[in-house]
């Protein structure tokens, strides 16, 4: 049975070694032919703009790799500084307030000049010409509520906020230029404040669970849900002009590509953007298709729109269809992609699990010989386990960059404790009397381990591996946040696009995969159980 385990470990490593280089984007600063890495934040407009950049670059003959929904501002900044991504759509107001920590002063031009100067000096990053529209924060209420309360502007909230519940994106709540600043500028104090993801915010306000939300001025959902945007009558929010933000390496290596993106400057106005957002958020059409149309509408297309609608025309979402009946169809239509995501997911799990087994099983065996170290070691592994998965993944970025490698490392760290703990206890509890008698009759320590302890501990060790594997299948969905791919991709994208069918097309296969892994390893547990030990086994 120890043979079975080592064979499994060896198999997983071989698999990991064969597939990892292909799966991880080769990041080589000297390679001029490498694809340009275009990233976005996880909400619809950011997806659209990144896709616009990508298609426009591809139309000019550049190879592009997409990192849609890569992360929020802080994560993107880290990745830009580390050279993990080349360009993503950013807003000048976000750069000024959230990154530089300065307050608004002057108009659009002044803010653009200020962030350009600071980003250049601090990180060598360059703000390319703004695209031509502003997407500022918009504080919105249900139209009927606003009408009955007689609120038109933010200053009108001051007196009545103590009766209202606010629902804001986590991003907005935590920032000086967000809720705190707003509250200070207008003297607003809500009765209660809830943290809500983009995906559920509109439903929450429609159902009356919250009264006030933060939205974006170009948001397609504002009209769909019949909301009123309150005027920023004290000019609290800075201008939020959208523009491509380019990393230092990108500028140095690909000036020709920078030139191409510069041509987007001033071409997309607010009405074009709002229409495009509506098509994605309200009509539920694919980002690829809508981005191509947007490019065509502003005169920068070139047949791309037709091509894109043909390739993904079948995938048009029927917004009125019930989720459960739309799901099988969507999964069948995207079966090629789904298979790729499942394989990718399995690679993440198998590689991390294999590495964890290779480390934790021998360590568990050694700990039995040195029990004084066992407490400390298990505690350290336990602490690793308590780090929230998303935080652990974020810690990996400065060290390993983005993609599959940091995800595998994080999953590896998570797998250590269950395997280590079970190996240690399994070995200790493996018939101590028989071990004692074997020793007394002249078995060597190695013989005791190989012929008594490991075979008896095998089912316990296997149970630890099973626990780790099931945890890993679940946690690996979060790896999509750092660009590792897998079944988390549709979940992250679906959350950003408020598309429940897309979320489920990742979540359901992930759950099924977890059940299958659990079932398969439960079988393996029975198979490795030694004869003669417990009834009903084997």
């Amino acid at each position: 049975m120890s043979g079975l385990r080592t064979a499994a470990a060896r198999g997983s490593w071989t698999l990991a070694l064969c597939t990892l280089p292909a799966a991880v984007a080769p990041i080589d600063a000297q390679d001029r032919d490498r694809p340009i890495l275009v990233a976005s934040k996880p909400f619809a407009e950011s997806y659209l703009l990144a896709e616009v950049f990508a298609q426009f670059l591809e139309a000019s003959g550049f190879a592009v790799e997409r990192r849609p929904g890569f992360g929020m501002t802080e994560l993107l900044m880290q990745a830009m500084i580390a050279g993990e991504i080349d360009v993503y759509p950013e807003y000048t107001g976000t750069g000024l307030a959230a990154v530089l920590g300065e307050t608004a002063g002057g108009g659009s031009a002044a803010v653009f000049g200020r962030v350009s100067e600071e980003y250049e000096t601090r990180w060598g990053m360059r703000w390319l010409p703004p695209l031509g529209f502003e997407n500022t924060y918009a504080i919105a209420m249900r139209r009927e509520a606003a009408d009955s309360l007689g609120v038109r502007a933010l200053s009108g909230l001051t007196a009545i906020a103590s009766d209202l519940v606010g629902g804001f994106s986590p991003d907005f709540i935590g920032r000086d230029d967000g809720l705190d600043g707003l509250a200070a500028a207008y003297g607003i104090e809500f009765r209660e404040t809830r943290s809500l993801l983009q995906a559920v915010k509109y439903q929450a306000i429609e159902e009356g669970a919250v009264d006030v939300i933060d939205a974006y001025s170009t948001d397609g959902a504002i009209s769909r849900y019949d909301l009123t945007v309150l005027t920023d009558d004290r000019g609290f929010f800075p201008p939020y002009d959208a523009a491509p933000l380019a990393s230092r390496a990108f500028q140095e290596e690909r000036p020709d590509a920078i030139l191409v993106l510069t041509r987007l400057g001033g071409r997309i106005d607010v009405s074009a953007m709002r229409r495009a957002n509506e098509r994605v958020e309200v009509e539920g059409r694919p980002v690829v298709e809508v981005a191509a149309e947007l490019l065509a509408e502003v005169g920068l297309g070139g047949g791309l729109a037709e091509e894109a609608s043909e390739s993904s025309g079948a995938a048009v979402r029927d917004a009125d269809r019930p989720v459960l009946s739309a799901l099988p169809r969507r999964m069948w239509e995207n079966r090629g992609e789904l298979v790729r995501q499942v394989l990718r997911h399995l690679i993440l799990v198998v590689a991390s699990l294999g590495a964890a087994m290779a480390v934790a099983v021998p360590t568990g065996v050694v700990l039995e010989r040195r029990r004084a170290l066992a407490g400390t070691t298990l505690r350290v592994a336990g602490i690793l386990q308590t780090i929230p998965s998303i935080a652990l993944l974020a810690f990996m970025i400065p060290v390993f960059g983005i993609g599959a490698v940091p995800a595998v490392v994080a999953l590896f760290l998570y797998s250590l404790l269950p395997i280590l703990r079970n190996t240690y206890t399994g070995i200790i509890e493996a018939a101590p009397n028989a071990v004692e008698a074997g020793r007394a009759l002249g078995m060597t320590e190695w013989q005791l381990l190989a012929r008594i302890r490991l075979p008896l501990a095998a089912p316990v060790i296997m149970a630890g591996i099973r626990t780790a594997a099931v945890i890993n299948v679940g946690t690996a969905t979060l790896a999509a946040f750092i660009g590792a791919g897998g079944l988390g991709d549709p979940i992250v994208a679906g959350l950003a696009l408020s598309d429940p069918v897309m979320i489920l097309s990742g979540a359901v296969p992930a759950a099924v995969l977890a059940l299958l892994v659990d079932w398969g390893l439960a079988r393996a547990e029975v198979l490795v159980a030694p004869k003669g030990v417990a009834e009903g086994r084997r």
């Binding site: 018939a431 009397n433 028989a434 004692e436 008698a437 074997g438 020793r439 007394a440 009759l441 002249g442 078995m443 060597t444 013989q447 012929r451 008594i452 075979p455 008896l456 030694p530 004869k531 003669g532 030990v533």
Partner: protein, 242 residues
């Protein structure tokens, strides 16, 4: 010649003195019972003989040679050992258990040795050889443990409360089997017990231990006459009439 001798053996566990200058000697063919209450040091003394325990002072000689100068694994393979709970390997058949030492020694006839030993211990090898330990009663398991201890034909046998966990009838049967086995093979033995009656029944010599010291060491036949104080108390507790 003394096959086993301990000279001024001392063993400390932290602040407690488990063996406080103990000397014993077992002549070839004799059977010594180490008798005493729990914590008297009798098991520690037994385990020092095959180097399961290392002494802090004094020395142990087996077949005339200090055990510290012998290879521990080889030494243990040459000495039979039985412990109270049997300590059978649960996922091995009884025959595999019984054949353990011959197979460790690389003997090609290991299985035959195991079969013979099972038979000698009173278990029909054809019936019991293919069973797993948990399918046997406690008494049968202890017989497998004895078979395992003698399968390679050792000249020395060590036993730690070998019959302690058995009920009265099974115990008497197992004792009789052991007495027959030992006498026919001419084995030298040393065993630990807290039961004076068992010591008198099975052993040729008795050493009474208390708080890490030997308080009395006599041939079994002279025990009743020479027992005083603590040894006499033990005799009385074991139900041996004086």
């Amino acid at each position: 010649m003394a096959l086993i001798s301990v000279e001024e053996g001392v063993k400390r566990y932290g602040a407690t003195l488990a063996l406080d200058g103990v000397s014993i000697s077992v002549e070839a063919g004799d059977c010594l019972a180490l008798v005493g209450g729990s914590g008297s040091g009798k098991t520690t003394l037994l385990r020092a003989i095959n180097r399961l325990t290392r002494l802090d002072g004094g020395r142990v000689l087996v077949r005339g040679e200090p055990v510290d100068r012998q290879d521990a694994v080889r030494l243990r393979r040459s000495i039979g050992y039985v412990q109270q709970d049997g300590g059978l390997i649960p996922h091995w058949t009884c025959l595999a258990n019984a054949s353990l030492v011959p197979s460790l020694l690389g003997r090609p006839d290991a299985s035959d040795c195991g079969r013979r030993a099972l038979g000698a211990a009173g278990l029909e090898p054809g019936e019991f050889g293919s069973r797993y330990p948990r399918e046997l009663s406690g008494g049968q398991q202890q017989r497998v443990a004895i078979a395992r201890a003698i399968a390679a034909g050792p000249d020395i046998l060590l036993m730690d409360e070998p019959f302690g966990a058995l009920d009265a009838i099974t115990r008497t049967e197992a004792q009789d089997t052991f007495i027959g086995l030992r006498e026919s093979a001419g084995m030298t033995a040393c065993f630990v017990t807290h039961d004076m009656a068992e010591a008198l029944r099975v052993a040729t010599h008795v050493a009474v231990m208390r708080e890490g010291r030997i308080v009395l060491q006599v041939p079994a036949g002279e025990l009743v006459d020479r027992a005083t104080g603590y040894a006499a108390d033990l005799l009385e507790k074991s139900g041996v009439t004086l």
